[in-house]
């Protein structure tokens, strides 16, 4: 099989021109030639990212001027970046009677984590071979904490699941594997809320 020449590959990818019918037919059928076209398009995209991410001289001047902020811990904006560690205040597994379970085996259970700004309630239910997690983030102050990004990280800090709350603070994840997680709630405004050790089993 005779592949497209590199000039033909560049013509298709960069000049957006059509080739002769035989070459077009080959391109439609040849995964290797299409991969080369895609590689070139990726490179062009990287050039575009480079161009759009070049900071202007005024931006650089602004950032270097922030040296005066170094080591000044208190400011109106610093609250955006502080993390509130949530404390587990209720685990329904510690009271099986609340589950209405006769055998003593707890399937679905609820967890409640509290910070000074918000509660995070999580319900865990087995579903097929994994778990369904439904949660709600409830503000305890005038500061709105929803909508928020909800991230589930494993013990190595690798992001495993991610979702967003709705405007009422509710979220859901399905297919969650058993394990230990760190759950990070990132509100649109205000401090990040972190549940440090959440075991799903």
């Amino acid at each position: 099989m005779k592949h497209l020449t590199s000039d033909q590959i560049y013509t298709v990818a960069l000049d957006q021109k059509r080739l002769d019918p035989a070459a077009e037919q080959h391109l439609a059928e040849c995964a290797e030639c299409r991969r080369q076209v895609d590689d070139l398009l990726s490179l062009v995209n990287e050039f575009e990212v480079t161009r759009r991410s070049q900071p202007s001289p005024s931006a650089i001047a602004y950032y270097t001027g922030l040296f005066r902020e170094l080591q000044q811990r208190e400011s109106g904006l610093s609250a955006l970046w502080r993390t509130l560690r949530a404390q587990l205040t209720w685990d329904s597994r510690h009271n099986a009677a609340l589950q209405g379970v006769r055998s003593g085996v707890v399937s679905a259970y609820r967890l409640l984590y509290t910070t000074r700004l918000a509660d995070v309630e999580i319900m865990v239910e087995p579903e097929h071979r994994a778990f369904r997690v439904q949660g709600e983030v409830v503000s305890l102050s005038k500061e709105p904490v929803v909508p928020a990004l909800v991230q589930w990280l494993d013990q190595e800090g690798v992001l495993r699941y991610e979702t967003e709350t709705d405007d009422e603070g509710r979220f859901q994840l399905r297919g969650v594997a058993s394990g230990a997680y760190r759950v990070v709630v990132v509100p649109l405004h205000g401090e990040v809320i972190e549940v440090q050790a959440l075991e799903i089993m």
Partner: protein, 205 residues
Amino acid sequence: MKELLVGRRYRNSTVTYLVQRCLHGDEEAWIEMVERYARLVHAIPARNGLPPTEVDDVGQEVFLALAQHLDEIEDPERLPAWLVTTARRATWRALQRRRQEEPVDLTEDEREESRPSSPLGKPIPTPEQLLAGWQTQETLQRAMERLNPRCRELLTLLFLDSSEPGYEEISKRLEMPKGSIGPTRNRCLQQLRAFMQDLEDKDGL
């Protein structure tokens, strides 16, 4: 002259040393840090289709946070990952704000046209993906530096110049026949890709 020299003293310093020097009140170290990582920070909102003004907003937010919390970063060698995560969250918030500010009386076609190229609602890449993207950007930059000056200038005009000069303009600037631009571009890109592959192989990517 001072402007030319500022920031160059720490050009080859490790991140840990840069952070230590910043925390000791060394302004040159801070300038080096800004110059080293500003593009990394900007690349994240840029990849997510935010316009230049909002890219700058994200940059301001991230560097302000860095200045205020530099002493709290436990492992300075992970500073790039910290910057990526922080910029990602700031980008997420900016995209949320754009979604909330979207006029309600647009038609579906108008709404689609006004979206940035990374549509609202599309998941933001993970920190790992963004760091991998940054690695690609660094490789591209290093490969561009290896090109001969003529190729570097041509590819810069074709792909990196924000004024987006056409072939007529490029032909004048480089004193090159218009008909040669395409074939020369292809040869230069071929060379660039070979350099990038070589760098990736050496970096074990």
